[in-house]
Assembly symmetry: C2
Homo-oligomer: 278 residues x 2
């Protein structure tokens, strides 16, 4: 459920809102290794000071483009009016095959921890927008915020390989903690191993106090997964085959706690800036 003023700016391009609404749901399907089939759309539109036609036309265009891109069909839904902000509710339906292990509860002590892509970009993009930094210079980060890339092919391919998986929507540390809790294990992640984009690296070069975005920034919708240590080569091949960066960032431990470790192996305490979607 995406709410205006909470999950997007009310004056955001409806074309982008539509795409993001589909993509965060497609990412949920990806994290279960599922093939997207169709979705149901609930739309609550403001009853005042709002031009539905002007808003809906680009919104529908955004839905259509991503329906085509992801072979995803609109099956039905509901449109209502509200005294509140624009509210978009998407229910995505997919079909999972061999996903017996693709939950949060299958991680084992000694497993490797991987993430796809780079982390912190989306949260940094949101900061760029909120703090009105140069939108041209940080265009890549803004795009990562508006248009997450659901890792559908990767999700499907990891079915039967990963021992646990989820998509990163709340931030790496929060999300690996979910896996630890459900799997009754701990985790140690080396901060230096966490993949960071060039664009975010450039931003952090001038704003070092934002570095916690790398592990606490949400909205990246990358896949976070664990594998048994003998899967190194398989993961490497998968990464090449799908042309998606897959980075080993840490280990599942016997403990009960997920920790981010600095270069000296000391735990980094949770950054001053906790992540909120907005």
């Amino acid at each position: 459920m995406l709410v205006g003023g909470k999950h997007f700016f009310e004056n955001d391009d409806p074309y982008l809102i539509a795409k993001k609404a589909l993509r965060v749901n497609l990412s949920d399907l990806a994290s279960m290794g599922a093939e997207p089939l169709g979705y149901l759309l609930g739309l609550a539109l403001p009853d005042k000071n709002f031009d539905p036609d002007q808003w809906l036309s680009p919104f529908v265009e955004g839905l259509k483009d991503d329906q085509d891109k992801y072979h995803f069909n609109l099956w039905g839904g509901d449109t209502v009016s509200t005294t509140g902000p624009i509210t978009v509710s998407v229910t995505a339906i997919g079909q999972a095959g061999n996903t017996v292990n693709l939950t949060r509860s299958g991680a084992n002590t000694g497993d490797d921890i991987y993430v796809s892509g780079t982390l912190g970009d989306a949260a940094a993009g949101l900061l760029v927008l909120k703090e009105k930094m140069d939108p041209i210079k940080f265009e890549y980060l803004i795009k990562r915020y508006h248009l997450p890339e659901p890792r559908i092919e990767l999700g499907k391919a990891l079915s039967g390989i990963a021992t646990s998986m989820m998509d990163i929507s709340d931030g790496l540390l929060g999300d690996i903690s979910h896996i630890c809790r459900h799997s009754k294990v701990g985790a140690e992640i080396k901060v230096k191993k966490i993949p960071v984009s060039i664009a975010l690296g450039n931003l952090l070069a001038t704003k070092a106090d934002y570095s916690s975005l790398i592990w606490s920034g949400g909205d990246d919708y990358e896949l976070l997964f664990t594998t048994s240590p003998d899967k190194d080569q398989v993961i490497k091949e998968l990464s090449e085959q799908l042309a998606i960066k897959l980075t080993k960032i840490g280990k599942i431990t016997k403990g009960k706690k997920a920790m981010i470790l600095d270069d000296e192996g000391a735990e980094i305490k949770y950054g001053k800036r906790g992540f909120s979607h907005f």
Copy 2:
């Protein structure tokens, strides 16, 4: 999608809001002859002047009671905060068997038109609340407004018998017009045949200008369906077997228009009071 201030009063008992949210969706399944399986729940709760615990406790109780009653399971969902009113989005999933004809497009010229139960009660119940009439005297109507009875067993039983079907959510005239448009036929309904409850009859005895609620009042969630004329006996038996009143109210015609006819066979023009859910 149910929005506070639009589809329910914001101070309505959350227990009833929960049940209604499930039931209007169960009614959608019923209208397709489907067996309810599970649902996904999106909940947007106000970020100010709102006590989530106080509200959620009876809401969850309502969900639970109707989950048990209808053997319906909560599969997942999302809870977010909003600057707007309480918004409840339910996506209901069911399994349809032999429902090749259970759409809006299968009605044929000469078919009989049936409805289940009685019509106009829910809209009258809403009026009773809005106009602060005696809530004890009209308790039945208020209950019909708060707690529609999804006709699940009837819907399943009509699979293979009805030529078209839908549930009445917008009002009889509007909904039969949907069937006519999709089936490319007309309809003639005799106002005298439309089943009216004793409670609504009592209300209309003093407030005759509300009589259009019978065909224009929504929110009844009764089933509206058509059958070939040789199904008289089958429908009669079904009615007895399920203990649900099923009333033949008119005929599908060659025309293109759905009409409500008075005792002289003249078309009743759409009442002054069009129905809105609120």
